[in-house]
Structure formats: C-alpha cells, structure tokens
Amino acid sequence: MAALLQVTDLEVAFRTHDGPLRAVDGVSFAVDAGQIVAVVGESGSGKSVMAMTLLGLTRGANASFGGTAQFGDVELVGATEDELRAVRGAQIAMIFQNPMTALNPVQRIGRQIVEQIRAHEPVSRAAARARTVELLDRVGIPQAATRVDAFPHELSGGMRQRAMIALALSCQPRLLIADEPTTALDVTIQAQILAEIEELRRETGVGVVFITHDLGIVSQIADQVLVMYGGRVVESAPVDAMFDDPQHPYTWGLLGSAPTAERARRSRLPAIGGSPPSLLRPPAGCHFAPRCPHSFDPCGQTPALRDRLADRPGHLDRCWLEPGQKRRLREVDGQIGLAAAERAG
C-alpha cells in the first residue's frame, strides 16, 4: 500500500541578504493513514518550514524548492496554486502553534469555520453552520451552539485551540499537520488536546504529522519519530526504538536534557553545549559535529541517512560511529545522555 504522504529529498532554500539559507536540506519520510509521525528538533531546525512547505505556505519570490512530496495524485512541491488550494483545508489541514494569533480576531469563530467548509463544498450557509456547531461540540467546546458566535478573544487559549482543531477537521482531511499545537497551552489543556488528536486518529484514520520539541508528547502519541537538526533528518525510527536505542548523539542530547521524575531532584538539567548551526553557513559534513563531544575525522563528510543496525532496518541515522561504540558513549550517569563537550582551547 502506498503511503498517504511520501516526502522525498525535500529541500527549501531562501534567498537572503546574507546569501542562500538552506532551511530544509534533503528531508525524506512517509506518513501512513492512521499514523502519527512526530518531528522533533530545536527551534530553527527547519521543522516548521518543512511542514508549511507541504501546504505551499512558504512560497514566495525568495524561496526555492527541491524534491517531491507525493500526496495521493498530487505532488505538493510542484503543484499549481489551484491544485494546492483544492488540497488545503480539504485534504490536508494544519493546526498552528499559537491559537491566540492564528484565528482572525475580528471574525466570529463559526464564520471562520463556515468559510472553509463553503470554500470546498457546495453546501448552504445554514448546513455549514450546523456542521460547525457539531464540530465544536465534538472537540469539547461546551455550549457549542452559542460559542459558535463567539469572537476568538472571548475564548480561553485551550478553547481557541479546540476551535482551531474543529476548523482543521471541518472537511474531514486525510492528513493533519500539527505545528506545536500544544506549546502555548497549560499542561492540563495540553493533555486534553493530545487525547483529542489520538481519538481522531483512531476514529477517522487521519494521518498526522506532529511537530514538537516536547519528548514527553512524542513518547505519548507518536508511532514514528523524525529528529531534525540543521535542516536535516539526523535520525528516524519507530518511537520505542528511538527511546530505547537512540543512534545519533544529538538524539542522546535531546533525551538527556528532557526532565524526568528521577532527574527532578537534581539541581540542573544537562543541556547540549553550543548553539544550533547557522543555516546560512552550515558546517561542512555533519551539522552536529561542532557540538558533538564524540566527533572524529570522518565527521567532516556528511554521513548518509541509512539503517546501520542489522536487526532493525526501519531505524535510520546520520552518524559515522559504530553502533557498538554508540551504546558505550551514550551512557552518562547510568542514563542516556550526551557527555559534556570538551572545552575548546
């Protein structure tokens, strides 16, 4: 069975005053129906640009693209605006990070949802409105029949994000792209929203690309994980393998700097030293090498993203180290982590 979405060698570059900026540098992955693929990475790793590119939202005079993103019959990267318009909202829907600013502040939320339904389906205003009330009710907005006429500022952040989700679901999309949908929300609301997305996946079989930097969320809902660094995928694996046997030092660093119950008593969370690479002048070879305490000669060449574990063909990474070496190196204080980098000079 062909995947719902097959992204192959996706590249996005922006022309800037300081030269070309390679925001996404050869990203490949697939999403099946009913599957949740999490994309993790620091700010500036290219996750959001990658996601928005799938819907053609990064197009502009200064942007250039490469690779393909096959979604059913449509190749999204090269699609015309008209083709994209038919896909946007109807087949691929997007939930944005900040529900405070992602809804139009001067329009009632019902109207904003009705607008999307009527842009894609020949239904009457009344029918679209009735469906909107149903949707709002379904995503857990109390008194949906009256809230449909609320302005965004009259709702709390959690309610607004639910309205955003209702908007995303209104045309029964086959793929949902969620760009840090819970980052701006309280933890309790976060859990409810996640449960909502889980349930949707179960009920409707929607495929989900879930962008986040919260590993707790990843372990909770993802099937497959993609770790991005400096515009590239550095590791790609099923969620259990990613947490049990991570192969890339950057992933170790991410896991090592995530707060856990045992670690809560320690005074300080370990952080990955240094800062993410400039995408204007990325380091030659492995992008992570300058921050990696385990870097050695071969790291001046870019390692391919491929499977390096004989027993797990679905576990891909971009690191020159041998799997046996990796298992030794990633042990820090009895847990997975990244050793502190030696101070230069």
């Binding site: 939202l57 318009r85 896909v87 829907a93 997007m94 999307q116 842009a119 302005f151 500022h153 908007l167």
Partner: protein, 316 residues
C-alpha cells in the same frame, strides 16, 4: 454609552473653549488689529473712532469682549465687522458647496487610496510598487492650489471640458453641479490619495504577515478571498479614523485654497476673505465650527471602531 457621550461632550466643551480663546487672542495681539480703525474708514476723526469703539464695545476689557462675542455666537446673533451681516447666515449659505466638495472628494480619495494602496502592497518591491511610490510622493508634495490651477488652465481654459469656476446647486441642475465639482474634487483629493495609499500599503504588509492570514490561506481560500476578506478588512480599520478626521477638516472649511481657486463660495472661501479683512467674528465661528466637527467625527469613529473590531471597548 451614556458615560461615553457625557465624557466626549465635556471634552468638546474644553476643546472649543481653548480654541476660541486662542483664536480670539491672536487677533488682539497682531499689529493693526483694532477693528474700529477699519470700521471707521480712512478719514475718520478720533471722535468717530472712539464712538465706534463704544458702540461695538472695543473699549471694554478683553475678557468682557470675549464673553460678549461668545454669547452672540451661541445665540446666533453675531455679525461680521466688514459687511455687518449675520455670520451664521453666511456660513449656512456656503455650506452646500463645502459639503458637496468635501463629500465627493472624500469618496474619491478613499476609493483611489484603497485601490492604489492595495495594488502597491500586493506588488511590494516590484516595479509597479516603485512607480506608485514615486507617484504618491509627487501627489503628496504637490500643493492643491498648483494642481487646481494647472487643471483649471488645461481642462477648463484650453480645452473646454469643464466649466471655469463657480458652484451650481445640486437641486438646481445636478449635471452642472457635477461638472463644476469634478476638477475641485480631484484637485483636493490628490494629496490624500497619495497619503492614504502609502498608509494602506504599510498596514496591509503588516497584516499579510499575521498568523491568521496564513491560516486563511491554509484553509484553501482563493488569494482574492484571503486579501479581501482577511487582509483588507483588518488594514482598513486604522484608515477609517484618518478618513473621518480629514473629512471633518475639509468640511470644516479646511479646503480654503481649492475653494478660492475654483470660486466655490464655500465656507473655506468665506474664511479666506475674512482673514484678509481681519474680520474676527467669522474667523472665530469658522474655527470653532471646524473644531466641533473634528471632535464629533472622532467620537463617531470611536463608535464605529467598536463595530469593526470586536476587541475594542468604548472609553473616553
């Protein structure tokens, strides 16, 4: 709402008070300001002048003169020095021309400003945007009397497309009313068109970067619907307050130069003539009437804001 009206009314009283005092005092301190000298004529004896001063009350202390004048203005019985006719009647006579001029021009500059501003924003950075930027700067820097004079010369004197000058009332002959106003409308509008299109362009560029505009695109709306329904709507809100205040300024006698060049006999022209003869009562009344319009229209804009932007609450 009641609170809002009360506060705005109080504000208006303060504004009118300050403006009237200021205007009144200016004409007390400028050289050759004594109106009795002009009322008496060229070969007047000191006795005649003294008699006139007594008759008009110019010999009284300034604050008494001010209070007398204000009382006459508020009761509608104030008369001008030069022609000695009722000032309010004169203004009423000029109002139809001024309202016709201001109303038509305001519609023209809003429509053209919107069209050019939108075009500029959507083509930002490209050739057509740069051409429009230069054109609007030219429009902003050209004084309306220059535009008016050139237009008059070319389109009314050289080629007889439009009548030379004067005002024909709408009730009398709608077509002539229109013909007589076309040149004044455009002469007055050009500067505002330039200004409004620049303001709208920058508003729209700001709005285009908003998250909710990206959401609108991600919903699968056509570019046109995104622009008209989400970008333009939000960008026009701040433009409305400019528009209201500029309209108030023009209708309050601010289009002096255009009214004079086209001899429209409106309120602005009356103000110009009164200034030439240092005729304080009409100047005072016109200034106060202009200020009154500005305050009232800005209150109306605040109410309109509540309708346009649901996040706004009325506060004075």
């Amino acid at each position: 709402m009641t609170r809002f009206i009360i506060q705005r009314t109080a504000q208006m009283v303060v504004v009118l008070f300050c403006i009237s005092i200021f205007t009144f005092l200016i004409f007390q301190v400028i050289p050759n300001g004594n109106p009795a000298l002009r009322l008496a004529g060229q070969a007047a004896t000191p006795q005649t002048i003294a008699a006139i001063e007594r008759q008009w009350g110019f010999d009284k202390p300034i604050y008494v003169q001010y209070l007398d004048t204000m009382q006459k203005i508020l009761t509608g019985s104030v008369i001008s020095y030069s022609q000695q006719i009722n000032v309010l009647d004169q203004i009423k006579r000029g109002l139809p021309a001024t309202i016709s001029l201001a109303g038509g021009a305001a519609v023209i500059w809003l429509l053209f400003g919107m069209a050019l501003g939108t075009l500029s924003a959507l083509r930002a950075g490209r050739f057509s945007d740069r051409v429009l930027a230069v054109l609007s700067l030219v429009g902003i820097s050209m004084p309306s009397f220059v535009v008016a004079t050139v237009a008059l010369y070319l389109l009314a004197y050289k080629v007889h497309v439009f009548p030379l000058s004067g005002y024909v009332s709408l009730a009398q002959d709608p077509w002539q009313w229109f013909l007589h106003l076309v040149l004044p409308w455009f002469s007055l509008s050009i500067i505002y068109v330039g200004f409004y299109s620049r303001v709208l362009r920058s508003n729209m560029l700001d709005t285009l970067a908003e998250d909710y505009v990206r959401t609108a695109t991600a919903k699968g709306l056509s570019r046109r619907r995104v622009i008209v329904g989400h970008v333009l709507r939000a960008s026009l809100i701040p433009l409305m307050s400019l528009w209201g205040l500029d309209f108030a300024g023009v209708i309050g006698g601010g289009a002096i130069l255009v009214e004079v060049v086209f001899n429209l006999n409106g309120v602005g022209q009356y103000a110009a003539e009164s200034i030439q003869t240092l005729d304080v009562p009409p100047i005072l009344v016109i200034v106060m009437y202009g200020a009154f319009l500005v305050v009232v229209l800005s209150a109306m804009i605040d109410v309109l804001y509540v309708v346009l932007d649901p996040r706004v609450r009325l506060t004075a």
